[in-house]
Subunit: 451 residues, 2 copies
Amino acid sequence: MIAEIVSVGTELLLGQVCNTNARFLAQHLAELGIDSYYQQVVGDNRGRLADALRLALARSDLVITTGGLGPTEDDLTKETVAEVLGLELVPDPATANRIRGLLCAQGSRILESAVAKQSLVPEGAEVFPNPVGTAPGLGVAAGGRVVVLLPGPPAELKAVVREHVLPWLEEMLATGGTSSALAAARARKFLCSRVVKVCGLGEPAVEEALGDLVRSVNPTVAPLVTTGETHVRVTAAAGSKEEAGRLAGEMAELVASCLEPHVFGYDDETLPSACGKLLRAAGLTLALAESVTGGLVGHLLTEVPGASDYFERGVVVYSNRSKTELCGVPDGLLRAHGAVSEPVAVAMAQGIRERSQTDLGLSLTGIAGPTGGTSTKPVGLVYVALAGPGGVRCERYVFAGGRSVVKLRAAQRALTLLWERLRLGVDTPATGVDRDGVSGGPAGAEGRHRG
Amino acid sequence: MIAEIVSVGTELLLGQVCNTNARFLAQHLAELGIDSYYQQVVGDNRGRLADALRLALARSDLVITTGGLGPTEDDLTKETVAEVLGLELVPDPATANRIRGLLCAQGSRILESAVAKQSLVPEGAEVFPNPVGTAPGLGVAAGGRVVVLLPGPPAELKAVVREHVLPWLEEMLATGGTSSALAAARARKFLCSRVVKVCGLGEPAVEEALGDLVRSVNPTVAPLVTTGETHVRVTAAAGSKEEAGRLAGEMAELVASCLEPHVFGYDDETLPSACGKLLRAAGLTLALAESVTGGLVGHLLTEVPGASDYFERGVVVYSNRSKTELCGVPDGLLRAHGAVSEPVAVAMAQGIRERSQTDLGLSLTGIAGPTGGTSTKPVGLVYVALAGPGGVRCERYVFAGGRSVVKLRAAQRALTLLWERLRLGVDTPATGVDRDGVSGGPAGAEGRHRG
């Protein structure tokens, strides 16, 4: 079965919103083993929408539209689909009542003309009730094709797809459904993707380590660089879900074995959740002293449920006074070396560890920019230090990019340092040489993509 | 002139990445006054890409492709465009040298076969050098049409577009260029968008306040809800850039006058930057005590350049011990009311203000979930308190959503409370009744979209 997403909305053509709906749908279609060769975007224009639908119906078995189901005159997806398929629109009283109920619960005014428009459905359509909005999703089979109409607001689309459309498609794929086009679905390919996640290793080093694996045809192996991490996506295709899963799993293991010891997790694992697992397993607690990142490291760590088990506290020491008062950084040290310096980063990490009585103290100080840089201390200069029972390690980086990017890269690097130290065991001496200066690394690695 | 974006890449069809390139290009086309009726997405398949290109060339004057310019066999956009336009590919030595120089600077190996493939260009093409990657952009005019080829990695695409393609298109539009198709460009429409940003007012209240303005045809007026904020986008079309700007500006003022006193800014203004402006203008300093948000409020405030002028420090008091040690919250208060309570939120705000010697102290405590909720203190319960010279105000919310959403909504609400207080003047008594409990608000407002 071949599917095609037709996204309807002038806001997409104007670039006012990003087409996250298409991505969400494409992901789920791939997971169901449904192929897709094309996507289209078209504005709120009846003639052009009809052309796009005819093109999609000529080359795809399942056409999924998003948007244009609202109550206003601009919203014409339902009307155009019915016209193209030669179907009448008929009132659906159950939908009308659901819309009235929703408006009432929200304390909104009920406009009967809007209710009447939104509760019209193509004859014979399957209605997918919308739990969070007024426009229901619709499923229509005609002429050997299936058309699914979905509301445009992402929260509504996701709810309707998860609650109704995915089970409906699964059922159709399993039984061959009511539409002859769906018989072809039995010949479908199942896809399974796994992601192997690596930190502390740039893309060139990852590619070097993977060698010829990146040329594998099934599963495919594709490295992707994100800020401070490299993700290797493995995608397998097979005749059954289980077989695709087995193939992808085996390749993911192979990929991971090439990248050890830098693999921090798989699939939905994040660097903060990987750190959290190691902290919890070792029964360790952590305190943070952030300057340049302004709270970002704490924010990332506390995105993980249960972070309070190991994250005791953080301080955002944005002023010199707060560095002294909250981390005990001596005033003389600040005057001698400046707030952005190795001695201050080390004193922050040690100070927050001692004052919080935690096992580990992690600190960051730097210059996020755009101003404040000098020739010896440029914008992007960041010191990251980790104090633990085995000593202190301090690293120096100069990150490229704007303020937000420098903050994010610094936070990622701090989490990488933490994860690497936890992996080795915190009692290990911090390094052969304490406070080892390391420059560049992740900053340089990120420019490298292929065109 | 009509433009059409053709995005090339199987990763888009599989939903592995979101099509941010299409959005970026669409925005810039709209700003240049170039209309767009369709967008297409197609995988790395020569036959289907050729079909998509032929369709686009049949209905659009300017076709912009993204992706498929890399060095591997999968990358076939350039080859397919040349085939469809009937052009030869010829080596471009200047591009080859630029690629070698870039690889050398990155310390990457130079593979001459890859250099040779990436430096081939269609005969007569305009080459747009890529400052951050190996694949250059290309501009080709043939058969009365213009095709622009762009590399797929977003950072490369943006750099090539900003540095080369936009000026090139501007020039073409101004002079009629070399292509007959471009003569039509003189009849183009210019668009200008302005965004009016509102906090502390839900979408229904915004719509009520705007009344019939949302039915305006030119400029259009469209409210859009984001987490804790409502943005009203005004888009005007006119025969000149200046006229579009004037129309949009006048309507934005009208919209703002309907929404006063809730308008915190326009266009790129963010709630943290709006707070920062008010803090700086009043010469006030701020300290934070975050529990539930884990550092997110500090992170958001420090995204603004120069935040150190007014943001003195923050503490992330994730444990009871840290609430007592860093904010002076009495142990008895924590035992009597629990960490998530109005008295503790108030004590945190007052404590951090006193200990930091700042003008304002802002605190948050709550239950982000997914666990830790009870029947009287459910997941999503958050107290936000602001202490200042005029007293303390504490608000209570129950936010819907997962852990990240609760954190984000709580942070937005804290910033809204701060902005509202700064707008009124911090010396004003905090409220008629101190510590006024307010429930629901933004949490409820967000479910409402139209389909």
